[in-house]
Protein backbone atom coordinates (compact mmCIF):
# COMPACT_ATOMS: atom_id res chain seq x y z
CA UNK A 1 0.00 0.00 0.00
CA UNK A 2 2.69 2.48 1.00
CA UNK A 3 4.74 1.40 -1.99
CA UNK A 4 1.81 2.23 -4.27
CA UNK A 5 1.39 5.66 -2.67
CA UNK A 6 5.09 6.37 -3.20
CA UNK A 7 4.81 5.16 -6.80
CA UNK A 8 1.83 7.42 -7.57
CA UNK A 9 3.52 10.38 -5.89
CA UNK A 10 6.64 9.85 -7.97
CA UNK A 11 4.64 9.70 -11.22
CA UNK A 12 2.84 12.93 -10.31
CA UNK A 13 6.10 14.76 -9.70
CA UNK A 14 7.58 13.38 -12.92
CA UNK A 15 4.51 14.65 -14.84
CA UNK A 16 4.91 18.10 -13.26
CA UNK A 17 8.53 18.18 -14.45
CA UNK A 18 7.46 17.28 -17.99
CA UNK A 19 4.66 19.88 -17.80
CA UNK A 20 7.19 22.51 -16.73
CA UNK A 21 9.48 21.75 -19.65
CA UNK A 22 6.54 21.93 -22.06
CA UNK A 23 5.39 25.27 -20.69
CA UNK A 24 8.91 26.64 -20.95
CA UNK A 25 9.15 25.43 -24.55
CA UNK A 26 5.82 27.12 -25.34
CA UNK A 27 7.10 30.43 -23.95
CA UNK A 28 10.21 30.24 -26.12
CA UNK A 29 8.21 29.32 -29.21
CA UNK A 30 5.80 32.25 -28.85
CA UNK A 31 8.70 34.66 -28.32
CA UNK A 32 10.36 33.25 -31.42
CA UNK A 33 7.08 33.69 -33.34
CA UNK A 34 6.75 37.36 -32.35
CA UNK A 35 10.37 38.06 -33.29
CA UNK A 36 10.24 36.14 -36.56
CA UNK A 37 7.04 37.87 -37.63
CA UNK A 38 8.44 41.28 -36.69
CA UNK A 39 11.15 40.52 -39.29
CA UNK A 40 8.41 40.14 -41.92
CA UNK A 41 8.04 36.37 -42.21
CA UNK A 42 4.91 34.18 -42.18
CA UNK A 43 4.30 32.17 -39.06
CA UNK A 44 3.37 28.59 -39.67
CA UNK A 45 3.63 25.92 -36.99
CA UNK A 46 4.43 28.16 -34.00
CA UNK A 47 1.02 29.08 -32.61
CA UNK A 48 -0.48 25.60 -32.83
CA UNK A 49 2.59 23.96 -31.33
CA UNK A 50 2.49 26.40 -28.42
CA UNK A 51 -1.21 25.66 -27.84
CA UNK A 52 -0.60 21.89 -27.93
CA UNK A 53 2.27 22.22 -25.45
CA UNK A 54 0.34 24.43 -23.05
CA UNK A 55 -2.77 22.24 -23.08
CA UNK A 56 -0.55 19.22 -22.42
CA UNK A 57 1.15 21.08 -19.59
CA UNK A 58 -2.19 21.91 -17.98
CA UNK A 59 -3.45 18.33 -18.03
CA UNK A 60 -0.14 16.77 -17.02
CA UNK A 61 0.02 19.19 -14.10
CA UNK A 62 -3.26 17.89 -12.70
CA UNK A 63 -1.97 14.88 -10.71
CA UNK A 64 0.70 17.05 -9.07
CA UNK A 65 -1.92 19.70 -8.31
CA UNK A 66 -3.94 17.02 -6.49
CA UNK A 67 -0.92 15.63 -4.66
CA UNK A 68 -0.09 19.09 -3.29
CA UNK A 69 -3.77 19.75 -2.46
CA UNK A 70 -3.99 22.51 -5.09
CA UNK A 71 -7.51 21.88 -6.42
CA UNK A 72 -9.57 24.52 -4.61
CA UNK A 73 -12.63 23.45 -2.63
CA UNK A 74 -15.07 24.80 -0.03
CA UNK A 75 -13.54 23.01 2.97
CA UNK A 76 -16.05 24.32 5.49
CA UNK A 77 -17.68 21.01 6.37
CA UNK A 78 -14.39 19.29 7.23
CA UNK A 79 -13.67 22.03 9.79
CA UNK A 80 -16.85 21.37 11.77
CA UNK A 81 -16.61 17.57 11.73
CA UNK A 82 -14.74 15.64 14.41
CA UNK A 83 -11.41 14.08 13.40
CA UNK A 84 -12.95 10.73 12.49
CA UNK A 85 -15.73 12.38 10.51
CA UNK A 86 -13.35 14.53 8.50
CA UNK A 87 -11.19 11.47 7.73
CA UNK A 88 -14.24 9.63 6.39
CA UNK A 89 -15.26 12.76 4.42
CA UNK A 90 -11.77 12.86 2.90
CA UNK A 91 -12.18 9.27 1.72
CA UNK A 92 -15.63 10.07 0.28
CA UNK A 93 -14.28 13.12 -1.57
CA UNK A 94 -11.41 10.98 -2.84
CA UNK A 95 -13.87 8.46 -4.26
CA UNK A 96 -15.93 11.20 -5.96
CA UNK A 97 -12.74 12.73 -7.37
CA UNK A 98 -11.67 9.32 -8.65
CA UNK A 99 -15.06 8.74 -10.33
CA UNK A 100 -15.14 12.18 -12.00
CA UNK A 101 -11.53 11.94 -13.22
CA UNK A 102 -12.17 8.38 -14.36
CA UNK A 103 -15.24 9.49 -16.32
CA UNK A 104 -13.36 12.40 -17.92
CA UNK A 105 -10.53 10.01 -18.82
CA UNK A 106 -13.05 7.81 -20.61
CA UNK A 107 -14.62 10.80 -22.38
CA UNK A 108 -11.21 12.11 -23.42
CA UNK A 109 -10.07 8.71 -24.67
CA UNK A 110 -13.25 8.41 -26.73
CA UNK A 111 -12.66 11.86 -28.25
CA UNK A 112 -9.05 11.01 -29.03
CA UNK A 113 -9.88 7.65 -30.65
CA UNK A 114 -12.66 9.19 -32.78
CA UNK A 115 -10.32 11.92 -33.96
CA UNK A 116 -7.56 9.39 -34.73
CA UNK A 117 -10.04 7.23 -36.64
CA UNK A 118 -11.41 10.16 -38.68
CA UNK A 119 -7.91 11.45 -39.41
CA UNK A 120 -9.03 14.82 -38.08
CA UNK A 121 -6.57 17.71 -38.52
CA UNK A 122 -6.65 21.32 -37.34
CA UNK A 123 -7.47 22.57 -40.84
CA UNK A 124 -4.72 25.18 -40.83
CA UNK A 125 -1.94 25.68 -43.34
CA UNK A 126 0.34 23.54 -41.18
CA UNK A 127 -2.52 21.10 -40.58
CA UNK A 128 -1.24 18.82 -37.79
CA UNK A 129 -3.42 15.91 -36.57
CA UNK A 130 -5.63 16.67 -33.59
CA UNK A 131 -5.36 13.40 -31.70
CA UNK A 132 -2.09 14.28 -29.88
CA UNK A 133 -3.88 17.33 -28.45
CA UNK A 134 -6.83 15.22 -27.34
CA UNK A 135 -4.53 12.52 -25.93
CA UNK A 136 -3.33 14.90 -23.21
CA UNK A 137 -6.78 14.93 -21.56
CA UNK A 138 -7.17 11.16 -20.85
CA UNK A 139 -3.47 10.94 -20.02
CA UNK A 140 -3.44 13.75 -17.46
CA UNK A 141 -6.81 12.95 -15.92
CA UNK A 142 -6.13 9.21 -15.92
CA UNK A 143 -3.01 9.85 -13.87
CA UNK A 144 -5.06 12.16 -11.63
CA UNK A 145 -7.45 9.24 -11.05
CA UNK A 146 -4.42 7.12 -10.13
CA UNK A 147 -3.27 9.79 -7.69
CA UNK A 148 -6.78 9.77 -6.19
CA UNK A 149 -6.36 6.06 -5.39
CA UNK A 150 -3.17 7.01 -3.57
CA UNK A 151 -4.98 9.79 -1.71
CA UNK A 152 -7.79 7.41 -0.69
CA UNK A 153 -5.21 4.90 0.59
CA UNK A 154 -3.42 7.68 2.48
CA UNK A 155 -6.68 8.79 4.13
CA UNK A 156 -7.50 5.16 5.01
CA UNK A 157 -4.11 4.73 6.65
CA UNK A 158 -4.70 7.95 8.62
CA UNK A 159 -8.08 6.70 9.77
CA UNK A 160 -6.59 3.38 10.86
CA UNK A 161 -3.71 4.95 12.77
CA UNK A 162 -6.16 7.33 14.48
CA UNK A 163 -8.29 4.36 15.57
CA UNK A 164 -5.27 2.45 16.79
CA UNK A 165 -4.08 5.53 18.69
CA UNK A 166 -7.50 5.86 20.39
Amino acid sequence: MRAFIRFADAISVACAVIASVMLFAAVLIVCWMVLYRALGHSTFWELETAVYLMVASVFLGSPYCLKTNGHVSVDLLAHYLPRRGSDILAIFIGVVGFVVCGYLTYVGAELMLKSLHEGETTGSLWNPPKWPLYLTMPLGLGLTALQYIAEILRATLDLKSAQEGA
Binding site: S42, E120, T122
Partner: protein
Protein backbone atom coordinates in the same frame (compact mmCIF):
# COMPACT_ATOMS: atom_id res chain seq x y z
CA UNK B 1 -39.77 16.51 -30.92
CA UNK B 2 -37.56 19.52 -30.26
CA UNK B 3 -34.92 20.80 -32.67
CA UNK B 4 -32.09 22.98 -31.37
CA UNK B 5 -30.44 25.41 -33.80
CA UNK B 6 -27.09 26.81 -32.71
CA UNK B 7 -24.96 29.53 -34.27
CA UNK B 8 -22.38 32.17 -33.35
CA UNK B 9 -24.04 35.26 -34.86
CA UNK B 10 -25.89 38.14 -33.26
CA UNK B 11 -29.62 37.57 -32.79
CA UNK B 12 -32.16 39.55 -34.86
CA UNK B 13 -29.59 41.71 -36.70
CA UNK B 14 -27.26 39.24 -38.44
CA UNK B 15 -28.60 37.84 -41.72
CA UNK B 16 -27.76 34.29 -40.75
CA UNK B 17 -29.91 34.53 -37.62
CA UNK B 18 -32.76 36.22 -39.49
CA UNK B 19 -32.73 33.58 -42.22
CA UNK B 20 -32.72 30.82 -39.58
CA UNK B 21 -35.77 32.38 -37.95
CA UNK B 22 -37.56 32.60 -41.31
CA UNK B 23 -36.73 28.94 -41.93
CA UNK B 24 -38.27 27.99 -38.59
CA UNK B 25 -41.39 30.02 -39.32
CA UNK B 26 -41.82 28.41 -42.72
CA UNK B 27 -41.41 24.87 -41.36
CA UNK B 28 -43.90 25.58 -38.60
CA UNK B 29 -46.43 26.86 -41.17
CA UNK B 30 -46.32 23.41 -42.70
CA UNK B 31 -45.88 21.33 -39.54
CA UNK B 32 -46.65 23.12 -36.26
CA UNK B 33 -45.82 19.98 -34.23
CA UNK B 34 -42.04 20.47 -34.62
CA UNK B 35 -40.71 22.64 -31.82
CA UNK B 36 -37.58 24.73 -32.59
CA UNK B 37 -35.26 26.50 -30.21
CA UNK B 38 -32.64 28.90 -31.56
CA UNK B 39 -29.44 29.47 -29.56
CA UNK B 40 -27.83 32.54 -31.18
CA UNK B 41 -24.48 34.17 -30.44
CA UNK B 42 -22.80 30.96 -29.24
CA UNK B 43 -25.24 30.92 -26.34
CA UNK B 44 -25.48 27.13 -26.33
CA UNK B 45 -21.95 27.06 -24.99
CA UNK B 46 -20.59 24.95 -27.86
CA UNK B 47 -17.74 26.68 -29.70
CA UNK B 48 -18.38 27.56 -33.38
CA UNK B 49 -16.01 24.92 -34.79
CA UNK B 50 -17.17 22.20 -32.39
CA UNK B 51 -20.78 22.54 -33.53
CA UNK B 52 -19.87 19.97 -36.18
CA UNK B 53 -18.87 17.46 -33.49
CA UNK B 54 -22.19 18.07 -31.75
CA UNK B 55 -24.12 17.57 -35.02
CA UNK B 56 -22.26 14.35 -35.79
CA UNK B 57 -22.89 13.06 -32.28
CA UNK B 58 -26.60 13.87 -32.53
CA UNK B 59 -26.39 16.10 -29.45
CA UNK B 60 -27.30 19.12 -31.57
CA UNK B 61 -29.87 18.91 -34.35
CA UNK B 62 -29.04 21.97 -36.49
CA UNK B 63 -26.43 24.72 -36.81
CA UNK B 64 -25.59 27.62 -39.11
CA UNK B 65 -22.09 26.51 -40.01
CA UNK B 66 -19.35 28.31 -41.96
CA UNK B 67 -18.11 25.40 -44.10
CA UNK B 68 -14.46 26.45 -43.87
CA UNK B 69 -14.55 25.44 -40.17
CA UNK B 70 -15.07 21.81 -41.20
CA UNK B 71 -11.92 21.37 -43.29
CA UNK B 72 -9.99 19.71 -40.45
CA UNK B 73 -12.53 16.88 -40.46
CA UNK B 74 -13.84 17.07 -44.04
CA UNK B 75 -11.06 18.44 -46.29
CA UNK B 76 -13.44 18.34 -49.32
CA UNK B 77 -15.34 21.29 -47.83
CA UNK B 78 -12.53 23.68 -48.77
CA UNK B 79 -14.40 23.82 -52.09
CA UNK B 80 -16.91 26.15 -50.37
CA UNK B 81 -14.26 28.87 -50.04
CA UNK B 82 -11.89 27.92 -52.91
CA UNK B 83 -10.64 31.07 -54.64
CA UNK B 84 -11.32 31.31 -58.35
CA UNK B 85 -14.13 28.75 -58.58
CA UNK B 86 -17.30 30.63 -57.67
CA UNK B 87 -16.96 34.35 -58.23
CA UNK B 88 -20.35 35.80 -57.35
CA UNK B 89 -23.74 35.08 -55.80
CA UNK B 90 -25.42 34.26 -59.13
CA UNK B 91 -22.89 31.52 -59.83
CA UNK B 92 -23.21 30.19 -56.30
CA UNK B 93 -26.97 29.85 -56.67
CA UNK B 94 -26.52 28.17 -60.04
CA UNK B 95 -24.82 25.26 -58.25
CA UNK B 96 -27.99 24.41 -56.37
CA UNK B 97 -29.56 21.16 -57.56
CA UNK B 98 -26.62 20.18 -59.79
CA UNK B 99 -24.43 17.05 -59.67
CA UNK B 100 -22.06 19.17 -57.58
CA UNK B 101 -24.80 19.66 -55.01
CA UNK B 102 -25.53 15.91 -55.03
CA UNK B 103 -21.90 14.99 -54.42
CA UNK B 104 -21.30 17.46 -51.58
CA UNK B 105 -24.54 16.28 -50.00
CA UNK B 106 -23.28 12.71 -50.19
CA UNK B 107 -19.91 13.68 -48.67
CA UNK B 108 -21.72 15.56 -45.92
CA UNK B 109 -23.97 12.59 -45.16
CA UNK B 110 -20.95 10.24 -45.12
CA UNK B 111 -19.67 12.54 -42.38
CA UNK B 112 -22.88 12.53 -40.35
CA UNK B 113 -24.44 15.83 -41.44
CA UNK B 114 -27.06 16.91 -43.97
CA UNK B 115 -26.88 20.22 -45.88
CA UNK B 116 -30.31 21.84 -45.55
CA UNK B 117 -29.96 25.32 -47.04
CA UNK B 118 -27.79 26.93 -49.71
CA UNK B 119 -26.65 30.16 -48.06
CA UNK B 120 -23.62 31.88 -49.60
CA UNK B 121 -21.86 34.95 -48.26
CA UNK B 122 -19.71 37.21 -50.42
CA UNK B 123 -16.80 39.01 -48.79
CA UNK B 124 -13.54 40.66 -49.67
CA UNK B 125 -10.40 42.35 -48.47
CA UNK B 126 -9.95 45.25 -46.07
CA UNK B 127 -6.47 46.67 -45.59
CA UNK B 128 -4.72 49.48 -43.77
CA UNK B 129 -1.98 50.68 -46.08
CA UNK B 130 -2.81 50.02 -49.74
CA UNK B 131 -5.67 48.86 -51.94
CA UNK B 132 -5.88 45.24 -53.03
CA UNK B 133 -5.85 44.74 -56.79
CA UNK B 134 -4.04 41.76 -58.33
CA UNK B 135 -1.82 39.23 -56.51
CA UNK B 136 1.19 41.57 -56.58
CA UNK B 137 -0.67 44.02 -54.31
CA UNK B 138 -0.54 41.77 -51.22
CA UNK B 139 3.24 41.38 -51.39
CA UNK B 140 4.80 42.08 -48.00
CA UNK B 141 1.47 42.53 -46.22
CA UNK B 142 0.58 40.62 -43.08
CA UNK B 143 -2.82 39.01 -43.70
CA UNK B 144 -5.33 36.69 -42.08
CA UNK B 145 -7.62 34.52 -44.20
CA UNK B 146 -8.85 31.67 -41.95
CA UNK B 147 -8.73 28.92 -44.60
CA UNK B 148 -5.57 26.92 -45.38
CA UNK B 149 -6.03 26.68 -49.16
CA UNK B 150 -6.69 30.40 -49.35
CA UNK B 151 -3.65 31.07 -47.17
CA UNK B 152 -1.46 28.97 -49.46
CA UNK B 153 -2.37 31.30 -52.35
CA UNK B 154 -1.72 34.49 -50.36
CA UNK B 155 1.61 33.12 -49.23
CA UNK B 156 2.59 32.36 -52.81
CA UNK B 157 1.68 35.95 -53.69
CA UNK B 158 4.23 37.14 -51.15
CA UNK B 159 1.99 38.00 -48.19
CA UNK B 160 2.94 36.87 -44.71
CA UNK B 161 0.11 34.86 -43.28
CA UNK B 162 -0.78 35.09 -39.60
CA UNK B 163 -3.00 32.63 -37.78
CA UNK B 164 -5.29 34.08 -35.10
CA UNK B 165 -8.80 33.81 -33.69
CA UNK B 166 -11.42 36.01 -35.36
CA UNK B 167 -11.86 37.94 -32.10
CA UNK B 168 -8.22 39.06 -32.35
CA UNK B 169 -8.55 40.58 -35.84
CA UNK B 170 -9.67 43.96 -34.53
CA UNK B 171 -6.87 44.47 -31.97
CA UNK B 172 -4.34 42.99 -34.41
CA UNK B 173 -5.31 45.50 -37.10
CA UNK B 174 -5.27 48.25 -34.52
CA UNK B 175 -1.82 47.44 -33.21
CA UNK B 176 -0.45 46.81 -36.68
CA UNK B 177 0.22 43.07 -36.22
CA UNK B 178 -2.07 42.65 -39.25
CA UNK B 179 -2.13 44.83 -42.38
CA UNK B 180 -5.33 43.33 -43.68
CA UNK B 181 -7.97 40.63 -43.39
CA UNK B 182 -10.42 38.67 -45.52
CA UNK B 183 -13.88 37.83 -44.29
CA UNK B 184 -17.56 38.13 -45.20
CA UNK B 185 -19.18 41.49 -45.92
CA UNK B 186 -21.42 41.16 -42.89
CA UNK B 187 -18.55 40.33 -40.55
CA UNK B 188 -16.54 43.32 -41.76
CA UNK B 189 -19.40 45.52 -40.57
CA UNK B 190 -20.35 43.64 -37.39
CA UNK B 191 -16.71 43.41 -36.26
CA UNK B 192 -16.32 47.15 -36.97
CA UNK B 193 -13.18 46.52 -39.01
CA UNK B 194 -13.89 49.75 -40.96
CA UNK B 195 -12.59 51.60 -37.90
CA UNK B 196 -9.13 50.15 -38.47
CA UNK B 197 -8.77 49.96 -42.27
CA UNK B 198 -8.47 52.48 -45.10
CA UNK B 199 -9.11 50.34 -48.20
CA UNK B 200 -11.72 47.73 -49.09
CA UNK B 201 -12.06 45.50 -52.13
CA UNK B 202 -15.57 44.11 -52.17
CA UNK B 203 -18.60 43.18 -54.29
CA UNK B 204 -19.03 43.23 -58.04
CA UNK B 205 -18.99 40.40 -60.51
CA UNK B 206 -15.47 39.22 -59.70
CA UNK B 207 -15.36 38.30 -56.08
CA UNK B 208 -12.41 36.31 -54.80
CA UNK B 209 -13.84 35.52 -51.37
CA UNK B 210 -17.11 33.53 -51.36
CA UNK B 211 -18.09 31.18 -48.54
CA UNK B 212 -21.08 28.93 -47.97
CA UNK B 213 -22.52 29.13 -44.44
CA UNK B 214 -25.66 27.00 -44.57
CA UNK B 215 -27.97 25.42 -42.04
CA UNK B 216 -26.52 21.98 -41.41
CA UNK B 217 -28.52 19.22 -39.78
CA UNK B 218 -27.39 16.18 -37.87
CA UNK B 219 -27.90 13.19 -40.18
CA UNK B 220 -29.44 11.28 -37.26
CA UNK B 221 -32.03 14.02 -36.81
CA UNK B 222 -32.63 14.30 -40.57
CA UNK B 223 -33.21 10.56 -40.90
CA UNK B 224 -35.67 10.68 -38.02
CA UNK B 225 -37.96 13.06 -39.97
CA UNK B 226 -41.02 11.66 -41.79
CA UNK B 227 -41.15 12.12 -45.59
CA UNK B 228 -43.77 14.85 -45.13
CA UNK B 229 -41.53 16.65 -42.66
CA UNK B 230 -38.55 16.36 -44.99
CA UNK B 231 -40.67 17.97 -47.70
CA UNK B 232 -41.62 20.79 -45.34
CA UNK B 233 -37.93 21.33 -44.51
CA UNK B 234 -37.01 21.45 -48.18
CA UNK B 235 -39.73 23.99 -49.01
CA UNK B 236 -38.76 26.15 -46.05
CA UNK B 237 -35.09 25.89 -47.10
CA UNK B 238 -35.92 27.11 -50.64
CA UNK B 239 -37.77 30.13 -49.26
CA UNK B 240 -34.89 30.92 -46.86
CA UNK B 241 -32.38 30.62 -49.73
CA UNK B 242 -34.18 33.36 -51.67
CA UNK B 243 -34.38 35.54 -48.57
CA UNK B 244 -30.71 35.00 -47.74
CA UNK B 245 -29.64 35.82 -51.30
CA UNK B 246 -31.47 39.15 -51.08
CA UNK B 247 -29.88 39.89 -47.70
CA UNK B 248 -26.39 39.19 -49.02
CA UNK B 249 -26.81 41.50 -52.01
CA UNK B 250 -27.79 44.18 -49.50
CA UNK B 251 -24.91 43.25 -47.17
CA UNK B 252 -22.34 43.91 -49.90
CA UNK B 253 -23.84 47.33 -50.58
CA UNK B 254 -24.01 48.02 -46.86
CA UNK B 255 -20.36 47.13 -46.40
CA UNK B 256 -19.33 49.42 -49.25
CA UNK B 257 -21.46 52.20 -47.78
CA UNK B 258 -20.17 51.72 -44.22
CA UNK B 259 -16.54 51.72 -45.32
CA UNK B 260 -17.05 54.80 -47.51
CA UNK B 261 -18.73 56.62 -44.65
CA UNK B 262 -15.80 55.75 -42.39
CA UNK B 263 -13.48 57.35 -44.93
CA UNK B 264 -12.13 54.21 -46.59
CA UNK B 265 -11.60 53.82 -50.34
CA UNK B 266 -13.91 51.12 -51.69
CA UNK B 267 -13.36 49.35 -54.99
CA UNK B 268 -14.38 46.23 -56.92
CA UNK B 269 -11.98 43.76 -58.45
CA UNK B 270 -11.58 44.04 -62.24
CA UNK B 271 -11.68 41.03 -64.58
CA UNK B 272 -7.95 41.31 -65.33
CA UNK B 273 -7.07 41.34 -61.63
CA UNK B 274 -9.40 38.46 -60.91
CA UNK B 275 -7.94 36.39 -63.74
CA UNK B 276 -4.44 36.93 -62.36
CA UNK B 277 -5.60 35.64 -58.99
CA UNK B 278 -7.24 32.60 -60.62
CA UNK B 279 -3.99 31.78 -62.43
CA UNK B 280 -2.22 31.83 -59.08
CA UNK B 281 -5.00 29.86 -57.33
CA UNK B 282 -4.76 27.11 -59.94
CA UNK B 283 -1.06 26.67 -59.15
CA UNK B 284 -1.43 26.88 -55.36
CA UNK B 285 -4.82 26.48 -53.66
CA UNK B 286 -6.22 24.06 -56.25
CA UNK B 287 -3.15 21.83 -56.24
CA UNK B 288 -3.04 21.74 -52.47
CA UNK B 289 -6.78 21.02 -52.30
CA UNK B 290 -6.60 18.09 -54.68
CA UNK B 291 -3.72 16.62 -52.67
CA UNK B 292 -5.47 17.01 -49.33
CA UNK B 293 -9.04 16.00 -50.22
CA UNK B 294 -9.60 12.51 -51.69
CA UNK B 295 -12.66 13.56 -53.73
CA UNK B 296 -11.37 17.10 -54.30
CA UNK B 297 -10.50 16.69 -57.98
CA UNK B 298 -13.95 15.41 -58.85
CA UNK B 299 -15.71 18.17 -56.89
CA UNK B 300 -13.59 20.90 -58.43
CA UNK B 301 -14.40 19.68 -61.94
CA UNK B 302 -18.13 19.46 -61.17
CA UNK B 303 -18.11 23.01 -59.77
CA UNK B 304 -16.30 24.35 -62.84
CA UNK B 305 -18.70 22.57 -65.20
CA UNK B 306 -21.79 23.77 -63.34
CA UNK B 307 -20.77 27.43 -63.30
CA UNK B 308 -19.66 27.64 -66.95
Amino acid sequence: QEIKISHQFKAETDGRDRAARLFVKEVNKRDPSIKFRIYPGQSLGIKPVAQLDALQAGTLEMAVYPMSYAVGKIPEFSIFIMPGVINNLDQAMKLKGTKFHELVQKIAEDNGVHIVTWWWTPGGFATKSREITGPESVKGLSMRAADPTFEAMLKAAGASVTAMASTEIYPALQSGVLDGALTSAESFVSMRLYEQTKHATVGGEYNLWMLMQPLLMSKKAWDALTPAQKKAFQEAADISDEFFLKLQREATDKMAETFSKAGAKVRQMTKAEYDAWVELAKKTSWVEYQQKAPRGKELLQLAIDATK
